[in-house]
Symmetry: C2
Subunit: 237 residues, 2 copies
């Protein structure tokens, strides 16, 4: 699909290897706007897509992650629909799922975590008037919480999450640049969240019992039981 | 990766086109267990992976969707870690994200939906003693709810979600076989949820204001505003 595009409008985080798939004849433009540096507005991106489509050009609007999860897809779709521009949405691997896979953990666990909650922390934005999540409304010990754009104020975030009655022993892993060569991680618990070091954006913060195995890898006990089960089966084969 | 595998252990839902990527010399086995027909247990799958690994075979355990989201990845990872078998998790597109992309909608919307909640409805299982989600704990009008395995008892599900104070006008879309040639959809509202027709498993049920545009596509009003904005910009270019 990228190879067939006349125009590729991409965000900052798209890997060079992906852009290299574009045709040498294609126009490639970075329309990214990282962390408040609003060099180009959403309305300008919409306008450019529509203008290209009206010139009968095939446009690929390329984002990293999943455009439908904190990717501002809704605004772009609205503009395209209103302009009568046909489009197709191709899903991607969202940063939270990429981070979990990189850690070798499952986001749900029938024994510990029955749901996944993807929420934006918003604090990376300079817009401090923007509404903050009301953690008490949805944060629970039996869910895995994925906080996109968690910001750097881990003292405040810790206080808010503890005030929402989350268990301080809950594992927390901060992943910067998930699934890229620049990926970096810090593992801790919710109670120690304030000790996290500032990491480069984009980052996701994963909190939940499903991450237990990240912390216990040096001392696997539950895992030993699963192993014993498998051993018994193997010896009976 | 699939092409390099000596053994491919896959679930029922993996597309033939994906299995065709395997080497002609590879052993390919379906270890799927759809909807209660437990022809092979999780412990047996674990044992088989470990046994193959001990024979120095390269094993690909292939699932459709994302293994870390209601994919029972946790049990498999536990067994592999305990057995000392090195592994890598490759993320996938989870059914909820695939369904949303197919609908051309965003799961989050800065104007309407600030988070995504992925939860299992469980009712597809014959195990009626299994715990049901406590919707009041997390279902809110400003979230997009993705219910995996929603089952077929939409009368009960509607009653429970309304009892959790969700808005009856909230759009709801049931998607069966997301992102496959067999994909089928039904769109309605939460208040009319009981009128949904039974659909083939696997299915996901999406509920939330972010799906508004699915219902309003015949009568776009919000979209007109975004279009007007884009028009103004275009005329000033």
């Amino acid at each position: 699909l990228i190879g067939e595009a006349d125009v590729v409008l991409h965000d900052d985080l798209v890997a060079d290897a992906v852009l290299a798939l574009a045709s040498p004849r294609a126009e490639i433009a970075n329309v990214g706007k990282r962390c408040g540096a609003k060099s180009i507005t959403q309305a300008q991106i919409n306008a450019r897509m529509i203008e290209c489509a009206r010139r009968n050009l095939q446009v690929v609007r390329l984002k990293s992650g999943d455009p439908g999860i904190f990717g501002r897809l809704a605004e772009e779709v609205d503009a395209l629909e209103a302009a009568g521009v046909p489009f197709e949405v191709i899903p991607g691997i969202t940063a939270g799922a990429a981070a979990a896979a990189g850690l070798g953990v499952s986001l749900t666990d029938r024994r510990a975590s029955s749901r996944v909650i993807m929420v934006s922390g918003h604090r990376a934005s300079n817009n401090t008037t923007r509404e903050q999540p009301n953690w008490k409304d949805f944060a629970r010990d039996d869910a895995t919480l994925i906080i996109y754009m968690p910001g750097n104020n881990f003292v405040l975030l810790r206080a808010e999450l503890l005030a929402a009655n989350l268990d301080p022993a809950m594992p927390a892993v901060l992943v910067s640049h998930a699934a890229s060569p620049r990926e970096r991680r810090q593992s801790t618990t919710l109670g120690e969240l304030h000790k996290l070091l500032r990491m480069e954006s984009p980052a996701v913060l994963l909190i939940g019992r499903s991450l237990d195995r990240v912390l216990r890898r040096l001392n696997p006990t539950d895992a030993a039981r699963a192993f014993a089960e498998a051993e018994i089966l193997l010896s009976s084969l």
